[in-house]
Amino acid sequence: MKWETVIGLEVHTQLTTQSKIFSGSSTAFGAAPNTQASAVDIALPGVLPVLNKGAIERGIKFGLAIGATVNRVNVFDRKNYFYPDLPKGYQISQLAKPIVEHGALKIHVDGEEKTIRITRAHLEEDAGKSLHEDFHGMTGIDLNRAGTPLLEIVSEPDMRSAREAVAYAKALHNLVTWIGICDGNMQEGSFRVDANVSVRPLGQAEFGTRREIKNLNSFRFLEQAIDFEVRWQIEQIEDGHKIQQATVLFDPDTGETRMMRSKEEAHDYRYFPDPDLLPVKLDEALIEEMRAELPELPQQKEARYQQDYGLSAYDAGLLTQSLAQANYFEAALKALGADAAGAKLAANWMNGELASSLNKAELDFTQSPISPAALAGLLKRIADNTLSNKLAKEVFAAMWAGEGEADAIIEARGLKQMSDTGEIERIVDDVLAANQKSVEEFRAGKDKAFNALVGQVMKATKGKANPAQVNEILKRKLAG
């Protein structure tokens, strides 16, 4: 039987506010335990929450960026459950009236475009952390993270493979960092993914029973976890078992998912509107202010790059993978003073040599040792034929190693491409004179001999001759 995978994601994005969602404590990561936990965060008797407007503003921006409905009335609800790192015994969240509903995000997989619907995005507070390893036989509680603002973004079950899920997660990650509402740092937990996964016989209309994989903090784990889970579910069904609704955890060491709790153990959260927070009404002026603050979005830029510079969808897609990348591209273009041809050249070098070097060094575009202006300096010398492609790569490597700007390296290493026709002609004459055997072989119809002659000329010029020019002169002389 053929099986179809159905995936929906719930993504917790930590918002970039300086202070917490309901208190004035700092949200900075990495402070000593409980040094960023105020009376409100540790839920002393009598304390009350006050909403941070910055969280609302970021929620609005996200809603506008995905073409969603931004609800004008926001209600905060209490989600009640006991856990030591949940100081109040409830989490303030949004159930019935979330800030964002009915949006969508486009993804690309294997050159195909697909739209993933976003059901809702709601604001809520993060819990603290339970530290089980550091204290023998005890659990430490760090409440620094308690009250950090989160926007939980819930998709429809629109993805049909782990690769689509990863593409969606990456597109979402790009968007939230692009519009500046989340720093996207997955190691620090700023972007955490829960995946709801089910399988069904291909062609069946109803969904299968889903299991939720919690807290995936890398795209790689997301893909591995879904792949494992799908195989497991199919095996279970083929062995005659039914899938039970459950929450599972992914273990990166074994590459397997394991059960955390079954549906029967699920909490009744006893949601009700938080009486400490009045409904928040958003006025149009604030929404328009947020709209005006939004930058050109990735998909808008992608379309513009194709239209204005004639870039391929592939190149434009790569350049808009992150705001840092797009900014780099635009800065390089500006330094280059470029037209469409220059843009194409810049795209090739960014998506090729530069991207792979950054990737190897685990750097992003903002950390590139070669600035956009420096790259433009190199591209200029390629465009004006000073450098062959081969020499350009050598110069690039030297720039990467910190030897300076392209022109200085060309000068210092004497890498300038030979463009003096007379000089090349003299060298060609010398080569022809010294390689009579090859000349005869060529005239006898051996094409390979021509390549040998080109090689000899390039060797004599130490690679600085323009190969196209060499070809042309050689052909003329041999014909003559």
Partner: protein
């Protein structure tokens, strides 16, 4: 001296006839003398009180003048006060010292009042008789076999016995007004949102409101001037112009329209209370007021609605008492769940547990619509009833409680009978309105009776005016239990 009004005490302090330290000592001595009998205070801290008094004396000496500078006030043990043990009358917080000031406490500090200590109450403000306190019940100064009412029973008894010239209280369903009535003092529950709830340990967040308790309406006005005001730390606090709640005290009542809800004078009201309230109505007519019958048709639903909504909010508000960060934690447990269960089983009393269970039930999946949402709908109807009534009248008048103070144990075994003692006060909280209780007589066995005045939203100054004019013409509020009358020390005469 102990019978002086706040205004008189402030005048004596300003004239340097007495120092704040002397005044505090006078009341501390009286507390020391009477508290073993009445149990009105949970925490007394002479050093801390006298330190506050010395600060007030320094401010007075520096020439500062403020209406209540140097005046001692007692605070209900529901308000967090920096450095003071703050228990909410629960074993759960019996060892908890607050590291910060509630906004109401901070406002009193800024005004220069001196804290006499923390008064007893029903545990987490859940009760109408003070019998649910972990620290034992408060006794009614008028009869030590009678309850003082609740939940602010300690504050009411302290004021009635003149262990404090005034006190703070909180009122979720009648917790200021009912004990004020049962102890023969005046108490005001302001409009919801007038006093900040920050630092006031939450029982039912949408109903809780702090207010003043003192012998007279005039004193209550002075206290409310200190307590009221917008607080950015409480999102439900209201941003309004500062008011002087004393401003209308002297307005004559000629032409005042008093609404008498027919539902307040029906079955369940004791004859003695009815008689005292009728006499008060007659007094108001003498003062030129007119009466008009009004109706609050949904008032009968207020008790059931309240006992859905208040427990629902309480069940969630009290979740933070889990033994993890502060307060009581059981000494022996095998795992996390066991720790939670034992801690909460040991830390909370029976009434608190009952309400947590009711609250968790009405919020649970499948019951939420039928209980919680339905109660919210009726709550809006009750508020609409009051709005309609206030189209016909300026204030609403009736009894505060259906009976005078009852005896200990009389209702303790029957929660519903206990809940019904708040039948006239609860609707006011549900509608968010201001309400007041003032003394209007005594029962045959010498227990005080309270008259309730209810105002439209933000009509505190009007209520205080209506109460003050009555008190100018009656002396119920000046009486005090004979057994407790003591001569002031010679030096202070």
């Amino acid at each position: 001296m102990i019978n002086s009004s706040l205004k008189q005490l402030a005048a004596l302090l300003a004239a340097k006839r007495i120092s704040s330290t002397e005044l505090a000592t006078l009341f501390l001595d009286r507390i020391e003398q009477l508290n073993p009998r009445l149990n009105a205070f949970i925490t007394i801290d002479r050093d801390r009180t006298l330190a506050e008094a010395r600060t007030a004396d320094a401010r007075l000496a520096a020439g500062e003048s403020a209406p209540l500078l140097g005046v001692p006030v007692a605070h209900k043990d529901i308000f967090c006060a920096d450095g003071w043990r703050t228990t909410c009358a629960s074993k759960m917080l019996a060892n908890f010292t607050a590291p910060y000031d509630a906004t109401v406490i901070a406002r009193f500090k800024a005004a220069g009042t001196v804290s006499l200590g923390k008064t007893n109450m029903d545990e987490f403000a859940m009760g109408s008789s003070n019998e649910t306190s972990f620290f034992g019940p408060v006794k009614n100064p008028w009869s030590e076999t009678a309850v003082p009412g609740g939940s602010s029973g300690g504050s009411a008894a302290a004021v009635a016995a003149r262990m404090a010239p005034a006190a703070t209280g909180t009122d979720t369903g009648g917790s200021i007004r009912q004990p004020a009535a049962l102890c023969g003092i005046s108490g005001l529950k302001p409009t919801y949102g007038v006093c900040s709830r920050y630092g006031m340990i939450a029982f039912a967040s949408s109903l809780d409101q702090a207010g003043p308790m003192a012998p007279s309406a005039e004193d209550c006005a002075l206290l409310l001037n200190v307590m009221a005001g917008y607080d950015e730390r409480d999102s439900t606090s209201l941003q309004r112009e500062t008011e002087d709640y004393s401003r209308d005290l002297d307005q004559p009542l000629a032409g005042l329209k008093i609404g008498l809800p027919r539902e307040f004078f029906a079955e369940g009201l004791s004859a003695e209370v009815a008689q005292a309230v009728e006499a008060a109505i007659a007094e108001y007519r003498k003062l030129g007021a007119e009466t008009v019958e009004v109706s609050l048709p949904n008032m009968g639903l207020s008790v059931p609605v309240y006992y859905v909504l208040a427990p629902a909010e309480a069940s969630s508000n009290l979740s933070r008492f889990d033994g993890v960060r502060y307060g009581h934690r059981t000494s022996d447990y095998k795992d996390l769940l066991d720790m939670y269960e034992k801690t909460r089983a040991e830390g909370f009393g029976a009434e608190v547990k009952r309400r947590i269970m009711i609250g968790a039930y009405v919020l649970s999946h499948g019951y939420y619509d039928a209980y919680y949402l339905q109660a919210q709908r009726i709550r809006r109807l009750i508020a609409a009833d009051f709005a309609a009534a206030f189209k016909q009248c300026d204030v609403i008048l009736g009894p505060t409680a259906p009976t005078p103070a009852f005896d200990f144990g009389e209702k303790a075994a029957d929660p519903v009978a206990m809940y019904l003692s708040d039948i006239y006060t609860i609707a006011v909280n549900l509608a968010g309105l201001p309400g007041m209780s003032v003394p209007c007589g005594f029962s045959g066995n010498g227990r005080p009776i309270g008259l309730q005045l209810i105002g439209d939203l933000f009509a505190e100054a009007k209520l205080l005016n209506v109460a003050h004019q009555y008190q100018l013409n009656t002396d119920w509020h000046t009486r005090m239990p004979e057994a407790l009358v003591v001569e002031a020390p010679e030096a202070l005469k």
